[in-house]
Amino acid sequence: MKYQVVIAGIGGQGAVFLVKVLSIAASLNDQKCLGTENHGMSQRGGQVSCYVKVGDFYSPAIDQGQADLLIALEGNEALRNIQYLKRDGGTIIVNADENFPKTEYETIKIDAFSKAKNREFPIQALNVYMLGVTLARDSHFPFSQENIEEAIRVMNPKVAEQNIGVLHLAIKDAKGIV
């Protein structure tokens, strides 16, 4: 099995956290995994993208046309990275409202910002929320919900239950969207 994920967002949204969770999940499954992050000089508010490659890979970088999945914590950052998706069969999971343009890729969009503004979950957990949406909607995603929950616990037991709560909320929300 080989699965390549691009995670895109803005500095401070916690894209790197997702790389950690996915690498832990892979290791719990005894799968090979390479991850890396790209960020420019800004510490906050700049473009960030991360790569996770599960399976037999030797280089952490992802080329254009290769990724199975793009998880985007913000709409424009999704569009900025779509060239990394496979030309056929790439999936986008994006935090965006109804204005997100149509692309040739299967797209699951959810307006997580509005939900955070309505205080349905804390904005700091946007990354975990989008991971929940991914679990609910990407049928090829190589990790199970139990798998991800365990990885979240391994990563930081102190805040794990709170994060898992957000994960559950996202899974519930994501099942409801079309």
């Binding site: 390479l34 000089m41 510490q43 280089s59 970088a61 424009n76 900025r80 910002f113 503004k117 904005i123």
Partner: protein
């Protein structure tokens, strides 16, 4: 034991596992987490070790090197441009060698992700005549640290480890030692004046000859340890790829995915190479292509009409590798037909750019905004330096960025060359300590007239907030005292999120400058938003919003101040992103000419 580690974490753990007990360095992306993680492991395992940030890379190198000639196992960490600073010491140390062991870690940044040059430390190792190991992944970096220490001990030479950003910041499941068998090595300096204080010409000439002999032995070692075991995999096709470090991963994946018939020979130690033995391997092949980041370090050590690489234009010369670039090289060498396998269309409409910017609420933004208000562009020159504050470029308040400490000496140069303009130089506290003091002394004793703002946030912010000398020694080491010690008055401004106040302070400096005959220096006492220890007390947590009725879309806030939360909404009025705003309150009172900025009563945070 299996552990998921970031490259810099794997390196730090390997240092402990290799018994290194003196680590000294200066932060620089992508190397910075190595020393920090070493400190973390040191505490976790309760081992006795020295691990400290030095004031600059040269100092860091020299501390570690002295440790190594006194018999300890040591390490110096830095980024590739930091190696330039340490190079004076390295060049000489390479002649002298050592008694214990020393690993010099110089992390490269192919693709200029956060560096002003793309220089290849392997080529520097070649210039300095020391062996270099080039890991391809975090797991390899772990092993190579341990190996590097052994090689250093065996040959009494400094060994370089050259991880690139894609190793330092990659994460991988690594196989690491279960048990820690850490014995601090007792140092004992044994006097050997002809060696450690060799006098030119005879003393150094002799050491120069020894250096050549040593290199021959290391070449043999390179052959038997790293190259020979791979020979059994060769002679299976007509194309041979020579790879090193990360270049290897890209080639291996591309060759596999594109079904290219080619053998791969990986150089774990790209310098020094046993040239003749390697060239003898070419006999069976039609073409030999070299894939390496970023300079032709391997390529320049070999010669053969079969050789393809950067020197004959087969492989790209600048920028990071990608599989597409590897594939292109195969196409250029006429091994395969061209293919668009690694290409895909970008989004075809314009997307709002997010140029690198200071964090929301960063005090540096206020300083640069105020500089632009007080010192008009036509009549000023703004040299700056290396740090977060380089992002003041966004506000038009920076004209030059050269190297660490360059702002001060360049301010001198500009003041001589173009005396009709006011030179307003900016640099950070850590940069000032690193290499800003000697140019300030130079400016004072030669009476160079300029304004220097030392933007002191008491941390090395851009590289992840490492401690600075004054932070760990409050009251003892202080920028104001240092400046005064250089022979000039030091004005002091305690930052507040109050633009009018900051502007008034700069106007006061402007007056001083008019009367001055030498440099006018001020230390701006700031804080870094991400430095929780200090910022939590200093951030007022008063969040901003904009009254749409008052906003006339004049652009002042988004062109002169540029705090990331500020953007136009669909009504073409400014809106503040409530998730990005940190509540510094600086924009609320004095920024907007129509007073459209207001306090938020209840924040979403």
């Amino acid at each position: 034991m299996k552990d998921i580690l970031m490259g810099n974490d794997a390196i730090a753990l390997a240092l402990i596992h290799a018994g290194v007990d003196m680590v000294s360095g200066y932060p620089g992306t992508p190397s910075s987490e190595i020393l920090g993680n070493f400190q973390k492991y040191k505490t976790k395992f309760g081992v006795e070790a020295y691990a400290q940030w030095a004031t600059n890379e040269k100092v860091g190198f020299e501390v570690a090197y002295a440790g190594a000639i006194a018999g300890k196992k040591t390490c110096a960490t830095m980024k590739q441009v930091g190696l330039n600073v340490a190079s004076d010491a390295l060049m000489s140390a390479s002649y002298i060698g050592l008694k214990g062991a020393m690993l010099l870690i110089s992390a490269d940044d192919p693709g200029f992700h956060s560096s002003q040059t793309e220089q290849d430390s392997r080529s520097f190792a070649k210039f300095a005549k020391i062996p270099v190991l080039d890991p391809a992944t975090p797991a390899e970096a772990y092993n190579m640290v341990k190996l590097g220490i052994k090689i250093s001990e065996k040959f009494e030479t400094i060994v370089m480890l050259r991880p690139v950003m894609r190793v330092c910041h990659a994460r991988e499941i690594c196989d690491v030692d279960d048990k820690l068998d850490f014995k601090p090595n007792t140092g004992e300096f044994k006097r050997d004046i002809p060696r450690f204080a060799a006098v030119p010409p005879a003393g150094r000439f002799r050491q120069g000859l020894e250096q050549f002999e040593r290199l021959e032995l290391i070449k043999e070692f390179n052959w038997s340890e790293f190259i020979k075991p791979q020979i059994k995999n060769l002679n299976k096709s007509k194309i041979l790829c020579l790879t090193s470090g990360t270049g290897h991963g890209y080639v291996k994946e591309c060759v596999g995915e594109m079904n290219i018939k080619a053998d791969i020979l990986k150089f774990d130690m790209p310098y020094p190479l046993p040239k003749e033995k390697i060239e003898a391997l070419f006999e069976h092949y039609e073409k030999v292509i070299v894939f390496e980041e970023t300079y032709p370090c391997i390529e320049e050590q070999l010669s053969s009409p079969k050789l393809y690489g950067k020197l004959n234009g087969t492989v790209h010369k600048i920028d990071e590798f990608s599989k597409d670039k590897v594939l292109n090289a195969f196409v250029n060498a006429k091994v395969v037909e061209s293919s668009d396998n690694y290409k895909n269309a970008k989004y075809d409409k314009e997307l709002p750019v997010r140029p690198p910017n200071l964090c929301p609420g960063c005090p540096h933004r206020d300083i640069y905004y105020s500089i632009m208000k007080v010192f008009k562009k036509k009549k000023s020159i703004y040299p700056s330096d290396i740090g977060c504050y380089t992002l003041g470029l966004n506000q038009g308040a920076i004209d030059t960025v050269l190297c660490m400490g360059g702002a001060v000496s360049m301010a001198s140069g500009f003041s001589i060359a173009d005396p009709n303009k006011t030179v307003v130089a900016t640099l950070g506290d850590s940069t000032f300590m690193h290499s800003g003091v000697s140019p300030l002394i130079n400016a004072v004793y030669q009476n160079h007239k300029f304004i220097l703002l030392i933007m002191d946030n008491s941390t090395t912010a851009m590289t992840g907030r490492q401690t600075t000398p004054q932070r760990s020694n409050p009251g003892t080491i202080d920028i104001k005292k240092l400046v005064e010690g250089c022979g000039v008055e030091c004005h002091e401004y305690i930052y507040e999120p109050n633009l009018d106040k900051t502007i008034s302070f700069l106007k006061m400096l402007q007056k001083k400058y008019e009367e001055a005959t030498g440099p006018v220096v001020a230390v701006m006492r700031e804080f870094c938003i991400l430095d929780k220890e200090r910022s939590s007390a200093m951030l007022p947590r008063i969040y901003a919003k904009v009254d749409e009725d008052k906003c006339v879309a004049c652009d002042i806030c988004t062109t002169q101040y540029k705090c990331p939360p500020m953007h136009y909404n669909e009504n073409h009025k400014i809106e503040i992103d409530p998730f990005l705003c940190v509540g510094c309150s600086a924009c609320i009172d004095d920024l907007c000419p129509t007073g459209a900025f207001e306090k938020v009563e209840e924040s979403v945070k």
